[in-house]
C-alpha cells in the first residue's frame, strides 16, 4: 500500500494552502482531487477579491489560484487529479478511485478540505431544464465559456448571487431580476450597486413561485412574501426567462468527516452539519484535520488561512518544526482570520467558530 506523510482530500484554496505550508516545512504531501484540474472554485472567480492587501486582496481569484499552484509545485507537493476519495478507514487510510482502479493510501495525517455543495430550492417546475445552481452557471460562463441562457432570474442576493449575476452580464446574458426572500439584500452593498447601475432590479421580500415551460424553462412566476416568507396573494409577476439560477446558500460536504467518525454539529450560521475542530483544525478523530468550507461556509481567503493553520499544525505534529515557530506561524494566520471575520458580515461566523471549538472540547 502506498504510504504518505500527509494526504489531503481536495485541491481548493484550503487544501492547497495546507499542502504548501506543510511541504515548506519538509512534509511529504499528496493532494487528491476528483476534478480534472486543481484550484477548487478559484479558477472561476474572475473578480478581484476583498480582504486585506497583505493577503491577496484586490487580486482576481483566478490569479490567486495560479499562485497557489505555483507555490505547491515549488515545494514539491504532489497533486493527484481525477482521483475520487470514496472512503476513509482506520489508520488513517483513504479509499481512492482513479485511473479505472481502486486503491488505498495510508497517511500519517489526513486533511479533509472537501468544500461545499450548493443548496437547491424546491418550487413548482424546479426540475425543468434551465433551473441550475448559480455556481453551475459560473462554471459554464467562466470555465467552459458557454452561456447557460440569455435571460436569467437569480434567486438569492448573497454575495454569490450578486457576483454571479454581474458575471452573467459580463458574459453577455441579461439578468431580469434578483429576488431575495428576506426584506434586505444579504450580500455586500457594493456588489448590489454594481448590478443596479446596470439596470438589474433587486427585489427584496420576493421569491420564485413557479417555473413553467414545455421542454425547458420559458417563464418564471415570482411573488412577494411577508415576514414569515408566506406569499402575498395577488402579487405574482410573470418574467420571460430561460434560466433560473439558485444562489440560496451552500452546505459543507461533510460525508468523509462523518465516515471518519468525526463528531459533527449542526451550526446554522456555518451552513449546517460540520465537523467540530480545535484551533489547530484537528477534528475529534485521531489524525484527521479539516479546513475551508467543510468546516463552515465562508470564502476563499478564510479557507486559505484555515488551510495554513492545518498545514502548520501537521508539520508541527510530525516534528518538522518546533512549537515556538509553529505558534508564531499559526498566530499570523489566526490574526488574519480574526480580521476577515470582523464587522457585521463576519461576526456571526466568528462567534459560531468560537462555539464550534468550545463544543469540541466540552460536548
Amino acid at each position: 500500500m502506498k504510504e504518505v506523510e500527509f494526504a489531503i482530500v481536495g485541491g481548493g484554496p484550503a487544501g492547497l494552502s495546507a499542502a504548501i505550508e506543510a511541504a515548506r516545512c519538509g512534509v511529504k504531501v499528496m493532494v487528491f482531487d476528483e476534478n480534472e484540474r486543481p484550484g477548487g472554485q478559484l479558477f472561476k472567480q474572475i473578480h478581484k477579491f476583498f480582504g486585506s492587501r497583505e493577503h491577496g486582496a484586490g487580486i482576481r481569484g483566478i490569479d490567486i489560484g495560479s499562485q497557489l499552484l505555483e507555490d505547491a509545485e515549488k515545494y514539491g507537493v504532489e497533486v493527484y487529479l481525477n482521483a475520487a476519495v470514496w472512503g476513509i478507514f482506520d489508520g488513517p487510510q483513504l479509499g481512492i478511485c482513479a485511473e479505472h482502479r481502486v486503491f488505498r493510501v495510508k497517511a500519517k495525517k489526513v486533511l479533509l478540505a472537501t468544500g461545499a455543495s450548493e443548496n437547491a430550492l424546491a418550487f413548482s417546475g424546479w426540475t425543468l431544464p434551465g433551473v441550475i445552481g448559480a455556481g453551475a452557471a459560473q462554471t459554464m460562463i467562466n470555465i467552459h465559456r458557454v452561456l447557460p441562457g440569455r435571460r436569467v432570474l437569480m434567486v438569492g442576493s448573497g454575495n454569490v448571487g450578486l457576483i454571479i449575476s454581474y458575471q452573467l452580464l459580463q458574459a453577455g446574458a441579461q439578468v431580469e431580476a434578483v429576488v431575495e426572500a428576506l426584506p434586505h439584500i444579504t450580500g455586500y452593498g457594493v456588489h448590489a450597486s454594481k448590478l443596479r447601475r446596470c439596470g438589474v432590479p433587486i427585489l427584496t421580500s420576493h421569491t420564485v413561485k413557479e417555473a413553467t415551460g414545455q421542454e425547458r424553462v420559458e417563464r418564471a412566476i415570482i411573488v412577494e412574501v411577508d415576514h414569515q416568507f408566506e406569499p402575498r396573494p395577488g402579487t405574482e409577476r410573470d418574467l420571460a426567462v430561460d434560466t433560473i439560477c439558485l444562489a440560496v446558500g451552500l452546505t459543507p460536504m461533510a460525508e468523509l468527516a462523518w465516515l471518519a467518525g468525526c463528531r459533527i454539529a449542526y451550526i446554522p450560521e456555518l451552513g449546517g452539519h460540520a465537523p467540530l475542530h480545535d484551533d489547530n483544525m484537528l477534528t475529534t478523530a485521531e489524525d484527521i484535520y479539516v479546513a475551508g468550507d467543510l468546516t463552515g461556509i465562508e470564502e476563499a481567503h478564510t479557507a486559505i488561512e484555515e488551510g495554513r493553520v492545518a498545514g502548520i499544525a501537521v508539520a508541527e505534529s510530525l516534528g518538522y518544526i518546533d512549537f515556538t515557530r509553529a505558534f508564531e506561524l499559526k498566530q499570523q494566520a489566526k490574526d488574519h482570520l480574526g480580521a476577515l471575520r470582523k464587522g457585521p458580515f463576519g461576526e456571526k461566523r466568528a462567534q459560531a467558530k468560537v462555539r464550534m471549538i468550545e463544543r469540541r472540547e466540552h460536548p
Partner: protein, 169 residues
C-alpha cells in the same frame, strides 16, 4: 419601507453624502478628487495602498470603511481600478466651464473607444443622456479594469455611475 443601500442596493441622499469617502462640495469645486462610495463594514483595504498621497485611511481594523482625506487627494485615480467593489470614482468639477470629467471603472466588453459617444446610466441603470468618452485608460497595473474618462454635465457628477454602448440594446 425606507430606501437604503441594504434594501435597494443604491446609496441614496444622506447615506451617500455622509459616507466617509465622500469629498465636501467645496473640495469638489476645487478640482479632481476621488469619491469613495463604500459605507459598509466589510473586510477590505487595497484602496489604502493604491494611494501614493496617503489620502485614503482605514486604520488597524480593515472592516472600517475608507475615509478620504480630501486635502491630500489630487484626483489621480490610481484607486479606481484597485477597488474590488468598483466603488471609487473621480470627478473633476472644473474640467471646463460647461462640463465635468468623471472617471469610472468599466469591466465589460467591448471597451468603448476614446472620442465616442455612449449612453450614461444612473445608479438604477436608467439612461440619463449621451456623454463623450474622452479617454480610456487600461494599463497593466489596472489588472483588466479599464477606467473611462467621461465628459458629463456638472450637475450629473453624483448621478452617472455606468455607461452603455449605443449600439447595444
Amino acid at each position: 419601507m425606507k430606501r437604503t443601500l441594504k434594501t435597494t442596493g443604491i446609496l441614496y441622499g444622506e447615506e451617500l453624502l455622509k459616507c466617509p469617502g465622500m469629498p465636501t462640495r467645496k473640495r469638489m469645486e476645487q478640482g479632481p478628487v476621488a469619491i469613495i462610495e463604500c459605507t459598509q463594514e466589510i473586510p477590505c483595504d487595497p484602496c489604502v495602498d493604491a494611494c501614493r498621497k496617503g489620502a485614503i485611511q482605514i486604520g488597524e481594523d480593515i472592516t472600517q470603511p475608507p475615509r478620504l482625506l480630501e486635502e491630500k487627494c489630487n484626483g489621480c485615480g490610481s484607486c479606481i481600478a484597485e477597488c474590488p467593489g468598483l466603488a471609487i470614482f473621480v470627478a473633476d468639477f472644473n474640467h471646463s466651464p460647461e462640463q465635468a470629467l468623471l472617471k469610472i471603472p468599466y469591466e465589460f466588453f467591448p471597451i468603448p473607444k476614446a472620442n465616442t459617444k455612449v449612453l450614461a446610466l444612473d445608479r438604477e441603470g436608467k439612461v440619463i443622456g449621451e456623454v463623450r468618452v474622452l479617454k480610456v485608460s487600461n494599463p497593466k497595473k489596472n489588472d483588466r479594469t479599464p477606467v473611462l474618462s467621461l465628459l458629463v454635465p456638472k450637475e450629473r457628477v453624483l448621478e452617472i455611475r455606468h455607461i452603455r454602448l449605443k449600439e447595444s440594446i
